[in-house]
Symmetry: D2
Subunit: 273 residues, 4 copies
Amino acid sequence: MRNEELKPGDVVLLYSPDRKTYLVSLAEGGKLGTHAGEIRHADVLGKHYGEIVRSSTGQPFVILDPTLEDRMMKVRRLTQIIYPKDAGLILVKTGVQSGMRVIECGVGSGAATICLATAVAPTGRVYAYDREERFLEVARANVERAGLAHLVEFKVRDVAEGFDEEAVDVVLLDLPSPWEGVPAARRALRGGGRLASISPTFNQVERMVATLEAEGFVMIETVEVLLRHLLVRVGKTRPFERMIGHTGFLTFARRALQPVEPSGDAEPEIEIP
Amino acid sequence: MRNEELKPGDVVLLYSPDRKTYLVSLAEGGKLGTHAGEIRHADVLGKHYGEIVRSSTGQPFVILDPTLEDRMMKVRRLTQIIYPKDAGLILVKTGVQSGMRVIECGVGSGAATICLATAVAPTGRVYAYDREERFLEVARANVERAGLAHLVEFKVRDVAEGFDEEAVDVVLLDLPSPWEGVPAARRALRGGGRLASISPTFNQVERMVATLEAEGFVMIETVEVLLRHLLVRVGKTRPFERMIGHTGFLTFARRALQPVEPSGDAEPEIEIP
Amino acid sequence: MRNEELKPGDVVLLYSPDRKTYLVSLAEGGKLGTHAGEIRHADVLGKHYGEIVRSSTGQPFVILDPTLEDRMMKVRRLTQIIYPKDAGLILVKTGVQSGMRVIECGVGSGAATICLATAVAPTGRVYAYDREERFLEVARANVERAGLAHLVEFKVRDVAEGFDEEAVDVVLLDLPSPWEGVPAARRALRGGGRLASISPTFNQVERMVATLEAEGFVMIETVEVLLRHLLVRVGKTRPFERMIGHTGFLTFARRALQPVEPSGDAEPEIEIP
Amino acid sequence: MRNEELKPGDVVLLYSPDRKTYLVSLAEGGKLGTHAGEIRHADVLGKHYGEIVRSSTGQPFVILDPTLEDRMMKVRRLTQIIYPKDAGLILVKTGVQSGMRVIECGVGSGAATICLATAVAPTGRVYAYDREERFLEVARANVERAGLAHLVEFKVRDVAEGFDEEAVDVVLLDLPSPWEGVPAARRALRGGGRLASISPTFNQVERMVATLEAEGFVMIETVEVLLRHLLVRVGKTRPFERMIGHTGFLTFARRALQPVEPSGDAEPEIEIP
């Protein structure tokens, strides 16, 4: 990426050393109120990523370009979002990559949409379904703000009505009853296509996995990701005292075109590094 | 992705319902020995992803296209690899994406190289450094097998000698003494560029974070990712009895072009979903 | 405890610096085969705890008196045992202490029996029920070997038939269907008496909690304990690469004598240290 | 325990179904202000554990006898306390039991003192050292309130000055520099006696373990305990969203009377249930 002079329309993350961050779309004449005074967009325009701008109180802020995580965490939220720790595993386990066609059902506030659109860019496509028009509107605005609108098609639709696409590479379900989306996902996925689902409760997971088995999916696997922060200071390093104990369980599966008998009773072998 | 007839040169993951998998590059006349008999490549050629092939003993195998995780876990290993759970977080936290230029130092067996190359495709580039020529040879073979060689430049070099590139977007350090790579990383990164590092011990993390602070990096953060598998069976769902307790700690930071005073003493706020 | 000369009948834990341990009841003329040669009991008799004995190959072993954990982990096992990490929480959460009367149902190999008997000594009593006579026989032998037989009464009985005791302080259920033991536990417990239950699956926990609510128990709480080992070496300290990912979920409750409406929908507040 | 009529001086835990609890020592004419109105002690006196009392607003409270955990969590706090999850493991790993003599150094608010005194009752003894008189005063008040004062001897003393006792069974160190207590602990412990230490940082653990090795302790082991709560509701059971991510690392060791060479480089085998 060229590190050119910042101009109106560019999106920046402003970071102050007390670990507060602000995501801003620059505009002529714009102003940002912070916990440590006001920042005039004019003072940022013309600078480069990595440089410092000072607020009205003299507090330094580093001008950064937002990462995928920044964009996901800074969405305007109407709903719970899929967290970066979970989104990262979804990327690696489903193998979403540049050029792929992906369905997301249960778009919520669009955090995962941003993740998927980033991964399929510049030539892939995300089909983003939600049955709640008001969620889609928020998600659309969040995706636009992330500069990814050209990669996403939004559709108001209940999962029971199925998807329009065929032979997609990946389907992500974030639904209260994800098993209701399995038949539609199966029809929409190409052979070998990957399904991911996220749910907070064991009960959802149990019913989801049973449905996936019944619908002939294979390599079904359920995991959870725990993220632990360390407070690193020379001579007194320790884990943080608080952590998030749970977001959701992630279930992954792949579409087989012909039936095979599941034999999932054994604990899969875990490879030890 | 078109789900076309499989032809020589295509790479498939063969999955048997007892959860064993094999990664194979198809060749005319090829044969694969498995735990459940032999599979002739000829029986796979002409089929599609998602279809089934039977081994000499009649065992069904589903023909799948490998995910990013499959490709990472199936590398030939001379060294410990960066695990998918950690690689996923690196993707989201650094925001590696299509078109970016990325340096990896300490390539090892190339699992992370495969991850980064997949993320920057089709137009980005990975500069893969290692001081051990024998590691680079293995990594190169693994990257070629993954069909990603056109995206990666391998260089035998000790980190103390620095990197050739400038203004790269991301640097990933997987070194026994990652702090030795920080000055070179600082010089190679554009403003706002992101650094990631993985280390098994607290001591490495402590020295690394101190070095990053001294070199003017910001948004320094250290985490670990714990992955827990669930054994999901209707009416008797529970976590697995065994898990991987530790791979490494991940440190992330971003390059500021001007100095700011770190003020890292407080525990960052953790957002609760 | 007086550290007197060891005599026949004393139980010792022999520890070699490569972290192997042996639990032995000393006898005149006894011999112990180890991974590092033979140890003659005669060489231990007359020594004190903390001293060293050498095997036939010259390997030093430290003579120790077994802790509660040693005794629990060294039981002869016919079944899964309750692990020390879980037993410790049971002690603190139920408040089992000297002089209490405790029922254990589902004795298995007797590891928890040893824990409970140790906690109620010297004047309390453990009533240990199991419907499998062969388990009780093993448990009895393990309890005797731990020198605690005078504190425990063993009874072959299915939980459906209820318990003989009244007004006991604590009931511990380790049953495949622990909810079947709840009515009997309610009848046997004094007002304010505490119930603990351990089960591997979510499904068991869910049914157990629903039954406890229906039977008027209060302060119902379910937790799991994860134990992580650190490999501590100067300059290279890290968590172990392997850990136990799951043993069981622990449910705790207390007996109310009059009904109150449960209002368990909120997440209890977790106190942060 | 007899479940007799409650009388002045008895200590009760009052529990309301919205999961609030109050620890109260009953007195003629006493009153307790709660979040849901006032409770007159007179309304509790004469009742039994397990019965219900109503507040001035009609809210039911169950009258319970406090468990060890209740007593520990309800201490008046000047300092961080040792948490029940950690205390439970300390009990099992050190094997503190009825009749033992135990030294605690770094008493803080006395939560662990309450735990140890409960475990050694009715005939053992806890020697509780702290160099801060104001902490000892609070701890003494907390121990008295728990009815355990007859089991504990408090001493204002810096650990550098050593302990008065000899041949004790267990030493618990909760100090900012626990290694400073190791020589005194070694001198005070009988052969085979057990040492436990709790510290928040890796750095403390590393120095502590090195000191224990240098002072000839054996079976040195460092662990951490993670406690995870489940929200159990029929059909929607899941882990809590928040959890405590860290309290402290626990180090355990035993006193050998003669030197053996440590050989701690291997990861100890972890037994899988």
